[in-house]
């Protein structure tokens, strides 16, 4: 991997800056405000962000060399004067411009969070599109599984920003030092994950590469004919797809703890074959190479063989978390038992396995104002049998270093995620300058390393640098 920062800076074309300035300019007359009306108080806030991603190691003509993402948010809170009623309406407009062989533009305007809330001294009830956050670890998914996430840019975006607001009913009951919470999700909402046709898709641009490349016709037809489908039963707006989750929270001495139970569908899809031959095509998609290519070219596929279903099995999750302070260190952890998480066997057939995931994290700020946060996550698959890219026990570590300079105007941050068991890793340094007018400019990089069979290794050729401008009014 080699960085070409100069090249990237050249790519910061005037269009990108004009886009940001245009958005900012449009907002100036509508800067956030708080206004009191009869009976209620209206607060609104505008947020503009534009980000230019530049792929520093181009390996395929199908890659998006540059990608501009612009976002405009308008957050509104209407709260009754007695603070018992609250309505939240957040509107978002997203614009994506992908530069590459097939330039794509995409504008999306939608309601993000939009809910009504009623609260008293004993309870809180909310209904509508909302985001729920459970768990204590940072940027790691152990029990924080209620809100689906948008992985269209893999993990270039923080976990909290990846979350999608969906329709839910939430009820929280407070009694003494205990908090009882129930969440009802009437329909099923999967996390957004692309399997092909994007730099961040699981299979990248494999289909296009095969289509245009010098491959046997049988292989081309097979790969071209693959259909990744969502089962009708998942897509139905039916209460049969409803999900529930419960949580109890309290505090024992200096330890805050939560216990939770969830009966939800697995948010991230795993591809399930309809026939045994489907595993041959899956194997090629996950591990394209001479061996798997030969296997595909020597097999004749029917249409049914080439249908792969996004499977989201129902999962029971029993878990909990804790958080406390020990001396000058913050200590937190979370873990859970997951019944029947979906995996792929070593022959790529679909299988479900009970799994235990535990994580613990420690953070500290040194006397030089350097903040560090280290988390360790252990995954154990019960009744283990050889699986594709999953060992019986696997260990992972994440780390974050952060320091502010020059009275907080500059901030340097370094993130690392390292799957110890598989050797793949992602690291991301970033430098932010905070202008006095509230504009934040961040230059960052994302570097992925590892084998093709690993989470980060799949994106080893997709290292990016990005420049982000963000402003809140």
């Amino acid at each position: 991997m080699k960085f070409s920062v100069c090249g990237t800076l050249k790519k910061i074309n005037s269009g990108f800056l004009i886009l940001h300035l245009l958005l900012v300019g449009l907002l100036v007359p509508f800067v956030s405000a708080e206004s009191k009306h009869r009976g209620f108080n209206w607060k609104n806030r505008w947020k503009v962000s534009s980000c230019l991603y530049h792929d520093v190691s181009e390996y395929s003509s199908y890659e998006d060399t540059d990608d501009v993402h612009a976002e405009l948010r308008w957050d509104n809170r209407f709260e009754s004067n007695d603070k018992k009623y609250l309505a939240v309406v957040n509107l978002v407009a997203k614009y994506d411009y992908f530069f590459g062989k097939d330039t794509e533009k995409d504008l999306d305007i939608f309601l993000d969070e939009a809910y009504l809330q009623r609260k008293s001294s004993d309870y809180l009830f909310s209904i509508g599109k909302q985001i729920v956050t459970w768990g204590k670890l940072d940027d790691v998914i152990v029990i924080d599984r209620i809100s689906p996430q948008d992985f269209s840019r893999f993990v270039l975006v923080d976990k909290q920003e990846r979350k999608k607001a969906e329709l839910m009913l939430r009820y929280v009951f407070y009694r003494n030092d205990f908090q009882f919470e129930g969440v009802f999700i009437p329909f099923f909402y999967p996390s957004y994950l692309k399997f092909r046709g994007s730099d961040w898709a699981v299979f990248g641009h494999l289909v296009e590469t095969v289509r245009e490349g010098n491959y046997p016709l049988g292989v081309k037809n097979a790969v071209e004919g693959v259909r990744i489908v969502t089962k009708d039963s998942y897509a139905q707006r039916s209460l049969r797809n409803s999900e529930v989750a419960f949580r109890v929270r309290s505090r024992m001495k200096e330890v805050d703890w939560d216990l939770c139970y969830m009966y939800i569908r697995s948010r991230i899809p795993v591809l399930r074959e309809r026939t045994a031959k489907g595993n041959i095509i899956k194997k090629f998609l996950y591990l394209p190479g001479p061996d798997t290519l030969t296997e595909v070219s020597s097999t004749s596929f029917s249409n049914n063989d080439l249908i792969l279903e996004r499977e989201h099995p129902r999962v029971h999750i029993v878990g909990g978390d804790f958080e406390t302070v020990v001396g000058n260190y913050g200590v937190r952890g979370e873990g859970g038992f997951f019944s029947g998480l979906p995996y792929l066997r070593s022959d790529f057939s679909y299988v479900r396995k009970d799994t235990v995931i535990l994580g613990v994290g420690v953070d500290h700020t040194t006397s030089f104002n350097l903040y560090w946060n280290v988390q360790f996550i252990e995954t154990y698959i019960l009744n283990y049998e050889p699986l594709f890219s999953q060992e019986e026990y696997s260990h992972a570590v994440t780390a974050n270093l952060k320091r502010e300079f020059m009275d907080g105007r500059w901030e340097f941050s370094f993130d690392l995620a390292y799957n110890i068991s598989y050797g793949d890793r992602m690291f991301s340094p970033s430098l932010t300058y905070k202008f006095p007018n509230g504009l934040n400019a961040t230059l960052s990089a994302f570097v992925f390393q590892g084998n093709l069979t690993t989470l980060f290794g799949r994106y080893a050729k997709d290292d990016v640098v990005c420049l982000e401008l963000k402003q809140i009014f």
Partner: protein, 261 residues
């Protein structure tokens, strides 16, 4: 990481207590310890609300402005505090919750909107600066009189007020400072000025109360300046609104309120 110690602690320390009456009661000379105790336990209301503007001024006179709301409530000898930033927009919604404990450090939580949940934070790292101001977390905390040895140095006029000048030397390793020299209004028992000395014995920082006003009968520091001579940086805190004894609900000082507001 942002913060732990509560802005209002400082304000509360600066708020005058028993007022003029006390100066008549104590006709005999008071010791340094008695003076500091008197200032610490002065009447500052059962609860309080402040809206505060905080301006950070660097050596090039560049200014950054923040506005925050502070709520405090007494629970016997202990205090709970809740701070919420309302400006500028990029930190709006950031909030702190602090509960004093009888023994040990305070229990503190930080809510960052970007995190979507409250986070328990370490309250014992006293020498770190509070949100890039000139106040360290230790400065923001109420400091109990028994943590220091106090010595009355002299009485002198400062800012047209007759003051006790008391030297307070920390016991053990309970402070980042070698000592503090404190000017306490002789009549109102309000802290008007503090000089901070580092471990080398250098006076490197100073806090001054520049405007005082009686609000609901309680003397309140309306403008306070903390100046760091080494960094050539200062923080000006101006109270924009203050209300005492409003009967603030316990709910304000709960984890629930921190997360749901």
């Amino acid at each position: 990481m942002w913060g732990k110690k509560i802005l209002l602690r400082l304000l509360v320390i600066c708020i005058p207590c028993a007022g003029a009456l006390l100066s008549f009661v104590y006709s005999s000379p008071m010791s340094g310890r008695e003076i500091v105790k008197e200032a610490f336990y002065r009447n500052d209301g059962e609860d309080a609300y402040f809206k505060v503007e905080m301006v950070l001024i660097d050596k090039h006179n560049r200014q950054r402005r923040r506005i925050l709301e502070v709520y405090t409530k007494d629970y016997g000898d202990l205090m709970k505090s809740y701070i919420r930033f309302i400006e500028p927009p990029d930190i709006e919604g950031t909030a702190f919750l602090s509960w004093e404990n009888k023994e040990g450090d305070d229990t503190q939580y930080l809510y960052l909107p970007a995190l979507g949940r409250a986070r328990r934070i370490v309250s014992s790292q006293k020498s770190l600066r509070f949100v890039n101001t000139d106040f360290t977390y230790e400065d923001m905390q109420r400091r109990r009189p028994e943590k220091d040895d106090h010595k009355l140095l002299r009485e002198e006029v400062w800012n047209n007020r007759m003051c006790y000048v008391v030297e307070s030397i920390p016991r053990g390793n309970s402070s980042q400072y070698l000592k503090r020299v404190v000017w306490i209004d002789k009549e109102r028992f309000m802290v008007l000025r503090v000089e901070f000395y580092n471990q080398k014995g250098e006076r490197f920082k100073e806090m001054r109360v520049e405007e005082v006003k009686s609000c609901q009968g309680i003397w309140t520091a309306m403008v306070t300046v903390m100046e760091d001579f080494k960094r050539r940086h200062k923080t000006v805190m101006r109270v924009l609104d203050v209300k005492y004894n409003q009967g603030l609900s316990d709910e304000i000082f709960s984890l629930r309120n921190l997360e749901e507001n």
